[in-house]
């Protein structure tokens, strides 16, 4: 299994919406908690992507720490989004999955103080917020082993998944190009 990230070919021209010629804005957002071991993996994938995606037209790389309503508010103004987050679905740690926006929640997809992402997006749309459509959002999820212990490093299997997650993000961007 390759552990080196492919370097994507940056488009020479901005990616534009054919109907309006407007440059499409894409957000690549890593979610996580930097103090909770594998819960930081989304943030680390973004770190790894920064040099590879420098100069990609219309693209913003960012980190955040929230799901639900605040995540929806973060997506306002973008045409497309890739959210990178830890997941606890029972798969082997380090497994990388690419999911639609209405997939079962990731770590930050839901909480008792918030709503799930799908509901939040619908709420935003009904409020007139310019959020991406559900079909324009993808989640790159990395299976976590430990999200309950304080620590500043990922567990080894999850750390090994970081390059694969970065590749998955890049593949999506190329597919959308």
């Amino acid at each position: 299994m390759s552990t080196t990230a492919r370097t994507p070919t940056c488009p020479t021209r901005p990616v534009a919406d054919p109907a309006s010629e407007r440059v499409l804005r894409t957000l690549v957002l890593g979610l996580g908690n930097p103090l909770l071991t594998d819960d930081s993996v989304g943030l680390r994938v973004v770190d790894r992507l920064r040099p590879a995606l420098d100069g990609w037209p219309g693209l913003e790389l960012a980190e955040d720490y929230w799901g639900g309503l605040r995540l929806m508010e973060r997506l306002v103004g973008y045409d497309r989004a890739i959210i990178i987050d830890a997941q606890c679905s029972g798969a082997p740690p380090g497994t990388v999955s690419t999911l639609p926006a209405d997939a079962p929640p990731t770590r930050h997809g839901n909480s008792a103080h918030d709503v799930d992402l799908w509901t939040a997006l619908e709420f935003g749309r009904q409020a007139g917020a310019a959020v991406p459509t559900a079909s324009s959002i993808r989640i790159v999820a990395i299976e976590a082993a430990d999200v309950d212990t304080f620590g500043e490093e990922c567990t080894p299997a999850v750390a090994a998944g970081i390059p694969r997650a970065a590749e998955a993000v890049q593949s999506l961007l190329i597919e959308w190009r």
């Binding site: 908690n33 930097p34 103090l35 909770l36 819960d39 955040d64 720490y65 929230w66 799901g67 639900g68 309503l69 605040r70 508010e73 606890c88 029972g90 209405d102 079962p104 929640p105 770590r107 930050h108 997809g109 839901n110 909480s111 008792a112 103080h113 918030d114 709503v115 799930d116 799908w118 509901t119 619908e122 709420f123 935003g124 009904q126 409020a127 007139g128 917020a129 999200v147 309950d148 212990t149 304080f150 620590g151």
Partner: protein
């Protein structure tokens, strides 16, 4: 009533789900209930050896729900650690910042979490019992108001605190920066908008909840009532204050049991350990731990928005005081022991937070340039307390002479309520599940309402919380055999 003793092993890790075990008697009534949730581990080990001055930023990252509360509590603990008293401008800035956070937080809870149960009804299908159902029922106007409140609050928190979500601002002896007159005007203007929004929210509650006899009966029903001690922070006039004051505890009859400074909390609060959970149960030391029972002989207490109103003699702002009086008149006087009335109290606190926000924004000292004094004393030990939206939050740090942490203790808001939450679940389950009852999703939701009123935040930053999170309820017979398992994933709007 006899049941076999069942051992619930906390070493069996909860795999991301909250779990309620309900044990039935041979007759089919509820004997006992046990709420278990995953707990975050290793916090103290993580902190020891770090600089105490990092704690306001570190602890704000523990909690994905109220980072501002940890930031301010941590900052106050640093004040105590370094034996320094911040100047008035700094205290007022901190309190104003905190009131803005409170307004945003309480708004989110009511409209996204607690409100749907009443506005849609507790028996409504789960896919309707959320913020989208609320919009459909009460109209689109509310959508814009909620989003504006949140947007304004987050923007102001970033303006004042230096960063959205995790402020970068509190220091021992003050804060890292003040505000300009231009910023002050914006804060004041948005605060006045927020007052109108809070008034609107209370009108909505009045119309939809209090105007519905069924809901009022639900609120005052025995399923959601138990008589405990109540805790909250009060100012010099015994009015509710979120940022600072003395911690006051009143008994089930409303009489004052204790009033103490934050640094003396260990003289009043101890923690009980049960074998079936990692979490500890704080209780009132002088009364003692008597188990999951209420009454004046039980040291079990609550620290919720309703508790704060019960523990105080009133609110410090005029509009909130009127609503305070109205709530107690409606519910038969003080103290109120109906858990679901916590939602009402939360809206009264929302109104107070917005009024206090504007009071502070129009204070002549708020734009002062003296917003920090430098500490000179050697650090050793310090306690900082604030009222987190979910309860009294305590940060306690011990350091060496360099300010390096040697020990840390946190009591987060919901920890105060863990025993009461277990009691509330048991109360609701015992009332709602009797012999022959078919346990349905709606009934499950009514049990969940018992603890959703607390707006619980058990582990901080854990998103595996009961409520709209994956939750499993297991009904067992007296021998522990599983009779029925109701598991639900996070609901989604249809």
């Amino acid at each position: 009533m006899t049941t076999q003793r069942i051992s619930i092993d906390p070493i069996t890790r909860l795999e991301g789900h909250g779990k309620i075990d309900i044990f039935l008697t041979p007759k089919g009534d509820v004997a006992e209930t046990y709420l278990q949730i995953p707990e975050l581990r290793g916090f103290e080990r993580f902190c020891v050896g770090r600089l105490a001055e990092d704690m306001p930023n570190l602890t704000s990252r523990i909690c994905g729900v109220c980072p501002e509360a940890h930031h301010i509590a941590g900052t106050k603990a640093l004040d105590a650690l370094f034996h320094i008293d911040p100047p008035p401008t700094a205290k007022k800035l901190r309190e104003m910042f905190y009131c803005i956070f409170y307004a945003t937080d309480h708004t989110t809870h009511f409209y996204a979490l607690g409100g749907p149960d009443f506005i849609m009804g507790p028996d409504a299908p789960p896919e309707q019992r959320n913020i989208l159902g609320v919009i459909q029922k009460v109209g689109m106007e509310i959508t814009g108001k909620v989003l504006k409140m949140r947007r304004d609050g987050h923007n102001l928190i970033e303006m004042i605190g230096g960063r959205k979500v995790h402020p970068n601002w509190g220091l021992p002896g003050g804060v890292s920066r003040g505000i300009t007159e231009e910023q002050r005007k914006e804060i004041e203007s948005l605060g006045r908008d927020a007052i109108e929004f809070a008034k609107f929210s209370l009108q909505l509650f009045n119309q939809i909840v209090l105007g519905n006899r069924e809901y009022v009966q639900l609120i005052t029903s025995e399923a959601y009532t138990h008589r405990t001690y109540n805790m909250g922070t009060v100012d010099a006039n015994n009015c509710v204050n979120f940022y600072d004051g003395l911690i006051r505890v009143v008994g089930p009859d409303g009489r004052e049991h204790a009033k103490y400074r934050a640094k003396d909390y260990r003289d009043y609060i101890a923690e009980y350990v049960e074998p079936w959970t990692y979490l500890k149960f704080p209780f009132l030391k002088k009364i003692g731990w008597k188990g999951f029972v209420d009454g004046e002989d039980s040291g079990l207490y609550k620290a919720t928005p309703l508790s704060r109103l019960n523990a105080a003699d009133g609110m410090a702002t005029p509009l909130a005081q009127k609503e305070y009086d109205r709530m107690y008149e409606t519910l038969g006087g003080k103290p109120v022991h109906h858990t679901l009335a916590t939602h009402w109290a939360r809206l009264i606190e929302l109104l107070y937070a917005t009024e206090r926000w504007v009071e502070l924004a129009t204070d002549p000292e708020i734009t002062g340039q003296e917003y920090r004094v430098l500490p000179t004393a050697t650090p050793d030990e310090g306690v900082g307390c604030v009222e987190a939206p979910r309860g009294t939050l305590t940060h306690h740090y011990w350091t060496d002479e360099r300010g390096v942490l040697t020990r840390v203790n946190l009591i987060v808001g919901t920890t105060n309520n863990y025993a009461a939450i277990n009691l509330s679940i048991k109360q609701a389950a015992r009332t709602l599940i009797r012999k022959g009852t078919t346990v349905t999703e709606g009934l499950l939701n009514k049990i969940e309402m018992a603890f959703r009123a607390y707006d619980p935040c058990f582990g901080c930053a854990t998103h595996y919380l009961p409520g709209h999170m994956p939750l499993t309820v297991i009904l067992r017979d007296p021998d522990g055999r599983v009779l029925q398992t109701i598991s639900r994933e996070a609901p989604r709007a249809s």
